[in-house]
């Protein structure tokens, strides 16, 4: 979907697609591309019309204690909106929790989100800007999950070439255009390492608005599944004073692209009834 650069955990980053841009840019990827053009290519990359995945979210504190959540997620692109719904399958204390999000293409439309908590057996809408908070206790925020607007940022090419695990990358700085974007995302600015061959952000460093924290993002184990580049492991590390505070890992367990997902699944009724 164009017009929206999504550092989206499920919708974009897990499901990196690169069918269209490779032909044009792999030959000489560095040729006269501005930072905005690079990010536009990242945003415009084909990532499938829909996806069904199961992931494991591992939360690790600085004492190396781990908590694990398993999530099943459905996403589908429509003409004007990206819809996704996630169900927590384990552990027992979050089992049955469901999160649904509609990310509208029109910038003037705020995204819609709902959360279902099984203890209450009730679906509650979440405030539009309540996205800078942690996604289910992880180091990823709801913004990371839902994505954010390409046009919300100014882009600057900080480094023409930098190697990440042997792959040549551009280093691009993203600066929010206004305070509203900062409030929405909770991020002051970030650096993204974009792989030149497949237009994927494989590494990121994010300056968090509050708490003098810096988050370190990385995408690992990138392989092609059903013709779509897919990162099987995502990691977000929260640091303070260059020391580890907490980290979260999303590990892809299974994924199916371009499945015919029924429209009815993106509803509050399904959040209640579960899978």
């Amino acid at each position: 979907m164009k017009g929206k650069y999504q550092m989206s955990l499920f919708i974009k980053i897990f499901f990196f697609g690169s069918i269209i841009p490779l032909v044009l840019f792999v030959v000489n990827p560095a040729f006269s591309l501005s930072a905005f053009e690079i990010m536009s290519k990242v945003d415009a990359r084909y990532t499938g019309e829909s996806a069904v995945s199961t992931t494991r979210m591992i939360l690790i504190d600085k004492k190396d204690r781990k908590r694990t959540r398993e999530i099943e997620m459905f996403s589908k692109d429509y003409a004007d909106v990206d819809k996704s719904i996630s169900f927590f399958k384990s552990p027992g204390d979050v089992k049955g929790t469901a999160y649904m999000s509609f990310n509208w293409e029109t910038p003037s439309k705020e995204d819609d989100s709902w959360l279902y908590l099984p203890a209450l057996q009730k679906v509650n809408r979440i405030a539009s800007s309540d996205r800078s908070g942690s996604f289910m206790g992880s180091d990823f925020t709801y913004t990371d999950i839902d994505g954010f607007e390409l046009n919300d940022y100014n882009y600057e090419l900080k480094k023409e070439s930098d190697l990440v695990e042997g792959k040549d990358c551009w280093v691009i700085e993203l600066t929010p255009k206004n305070k509203k974007v900062i409030d929405k995302t909770g991020y002051l600015k970030s650096l993204q390492w974009i792989r030149k061959d497949i237009f994927i952000p494989v590494k990121g460093r994010i300056l968090v608005k509050k708490g003098k924290k810096i988050k370190l993002f990385s995408a690992k184990d990138i392989t092609k599944i059903n013709g779509i580049w897919t990162a099987k492991t995502l990691q977000m590390i929260t640091t303070k004073n260059k020391k580890l505070v907490h980290k979260s890992v999303f590990q892809l367990k299974s994924i199916k692209y371009n499945i015919d997902i029924g429209d009815g699944i993106f509803s509050t009724e399904v959040m209640q009834s579960g899978l």
Binding site: L59, D61, T68, F74, P91, G92, D93, K95, G96, E110, D112, P118, L120, K122, R125, A127, S129, D130, S134, M136, G137, D139, K159, R205, L207, K210, K212, I214, L216, K220, D221, T223, I225, G227, K232, Q235, I237, T239, K242, K243, L244, H246, K247, S248, V249, Q251, L252, K253, S254, K256, N258, I259, D260, I261, G262, G264, I265, V270, S273, L275
Partner: protein, 492 residues
């Protein structure tokens, strides 16, 4: 005079500086952070060492690798709808409750001390009969380790109770029609602390603010159908024998009969309650739900029995008085909805109730007069402060055709405040509530903390306070029932 003036000036300066500090704190923090070098090699070291740990411990699990790589391109092109089996789940909760104050002679526990030790075992099984028919069965096994006897909690005088909770079938005759039949909770409406349109399920009021959230609403036998109508969805809900709010047992901390001791001359020891069945056990609720970008709106109608049973008749003999509590039939129509704007979620509800019985100054004077009542509620959640969410809800009740013989006033207001904070990546949750009951000075407040020790295992503590200053407040007889609770829960 001079010192007061100096004090005033000092206070104003202090307040101004304090507010300025709060206001500019994020900016100051931001400017300091702008000097940070995101390109620093120090972060490379942190990333590398962290990834090495992950690679060795978590990432390259062969089983998972196989699952991902086994998916052939172009395969699995089947229609995905609702599927899957959730299997078994449940929890074991162990709680200890201590009464802090001396409640008085009307209750089994008359002095501060142990109130109860309880083990609760919740279990659920969810499965599917066919791709379009699923089921869920669940229950609660509650074991009380002792009983209050002669003003002492005695271990060994135990009791056990098994309660059916979820027991329903979910059916999908078509992709957009949902039918659920069976024992279930149907939580609707916008408010968390007040119930205006959320009246399908009766509540457990036997231990206000002390129970688990999952046990607050009482399951009802019901049939629910959700049908799309253009861009909206019509929900029709039919319940049968839904029952009433659960109230405390005789002598327990919230025995409702105690309410009838003060305003009447009835002797406490000779009061008995008899609960009557409703004349019409069937209730109908209809909701037309419309979700739009940035909000939800529902138009509601119901023909229902009030969840709170009211006094219907009194029979007296030489040795005792029996109070008969029964159901009242009312019709309600109104709307509820929300608007999400920035960090705010605004919530509103309004309902018109036809034929609501209202007690007089002496509630034993029967029958109670029936009046129409309007209830309007407004509230919001604010989530703009880190991991803190603040909530406020208020309801206004207006009795139409009011007369002075009625208890309470023509217009009454209630409020509820909530603050929820989560920290340490959701390991720690702290929740504070403050609810001022409508039309009274009574307040129920609580402060709870919950810590997630490991996956599925948590420990918690909660303090609950009941405040009432006026004899006419419904909470007045229970004002000394403050408790502190400790609990641990294992979920699977």
């Amino acid at each position: 005079m001079v010192s007061r003036l100096v004090n005033n000036i000092y206070n104003k300066i202090f307040c101004t500086l304090f507010l300025a500090f709060i206001w500019f704190l994020p900016e100051v923090t931001s400017s300091e952070e702008k000097g940070i070098d995101l390109m620093s090699d120090d972060y490379d070291l942190l990333e590398d060492s962290s990834l090495e740990d992950l690679e060795s411990e978590l990432i390259f699990n062969r089983e998972w690798e196989a699952e991902v790589s086994d998916k052939k391109e172009g395969s699995e092109e089947k229609k995905i709808g609702r599927f899957g089996i959730e299997g078994f789940s449940g929890s074991i909760n162990q709680s200890f409750v201590f009464g802090i104050e001396d409640p008085g002679v009307s209750f089994n526990r008359q002095k501060s001390g142990l109130e109860r030790i309880r083990t609760a075992f919740n279990f659920n099984h969810k499965g599917e009969i066919s791709p379009s028919i699923k089921y869920k069965v669940g229950g609660l096994l509650r074991y009380d380790w002792g009983k209050l006897d002669n003003n002492q909690y005695r271990i060994g005088r135990n009791s056990i109770r098994l309660k059916l909770k979820d027991a329903y079938l979910d059916m999908y005759p078509s992709e957009s029609i949902w039918l659920r039949i069976g024992n279930q909770i149907i939580a609707r409406g916008q408010f968390d602390g007040l119930s205006i349109t959320d009246t399908i399920n009766p509540r457990d009021l036997s231990i206000p603010a002390q129970g688990e959230l999952s046990d607050f609403r009482q399951h009802v036998p019901a049939a629910l159908i959700s049908i799309p109508i253009q861009n909206a969805k019509l929900e029709l809900i039919l319940t049968y024998d839904a029952g009433a709010d659960n109230v405390g047992q005789p002598g327990s901390g919230f025995d409702p009969l105690v309410l009838f001791q003060n305003p009447t001359s009835l002797a406490p020891s000779s009061l008995f309650a008899k609960y009557l069945k409703p004349s019409n056990p069937t209730e109908l609720f209809a909701r037309l739900n419309y979700a739009f970008n940035g909000g939800d709106l529902a138009v509601v109608f119901s023909d229902e029995n009030l969840n709170q049973r009211n006094l219907k008749s009194v029979t007296t003999s030489s040795s005792s008085t029996e109070l008969h509590f029964g159901f009242d039939r009312v019709q309600k129509y109104g709307f509820s909805g929300n608007l999400a704007r920035g960090n705010y979620l605004f919530k509103y509800e309004a309902v018109q109730i036809a034929g609501l019985p209202i007690p007089g100054k002496d509630p034993t004077v029967l029958p109670w007069q029936k009046k129409n009542q309007s209830v309007i509620g407004f509230g919001f959640d604010y989530s703009g402060i880190d991991n803190l969410t603040l909530g406020f809800e208020s309801d206004v009740k207006l009795v139409q055709d009011y007369s002075e013989v009625l208890s309470g006033s023509e217009t009454s207001v209630g409020q509820s405040f909530q603050a929820r904070w989560t920290g340490l990546n959701d390991l720690l949750n702290i929740n504070g509530t403050f609810s001022k009951l409508n039309g009274e000075e009574s307040v129920i407040s609580s402060l709870a903390a919950n810590y997630n020790v490991q996956d599925g295992l948590s420990v918690g503590a909660r303090f609950v306070r009941y405040y009432a200053s006026s004899v006419s407040d419904s909470l007045y007889p229970y004002r000394n029932q403050d408790v502190i609770m400790f609990s641990t829960e294992y979920s699977f």
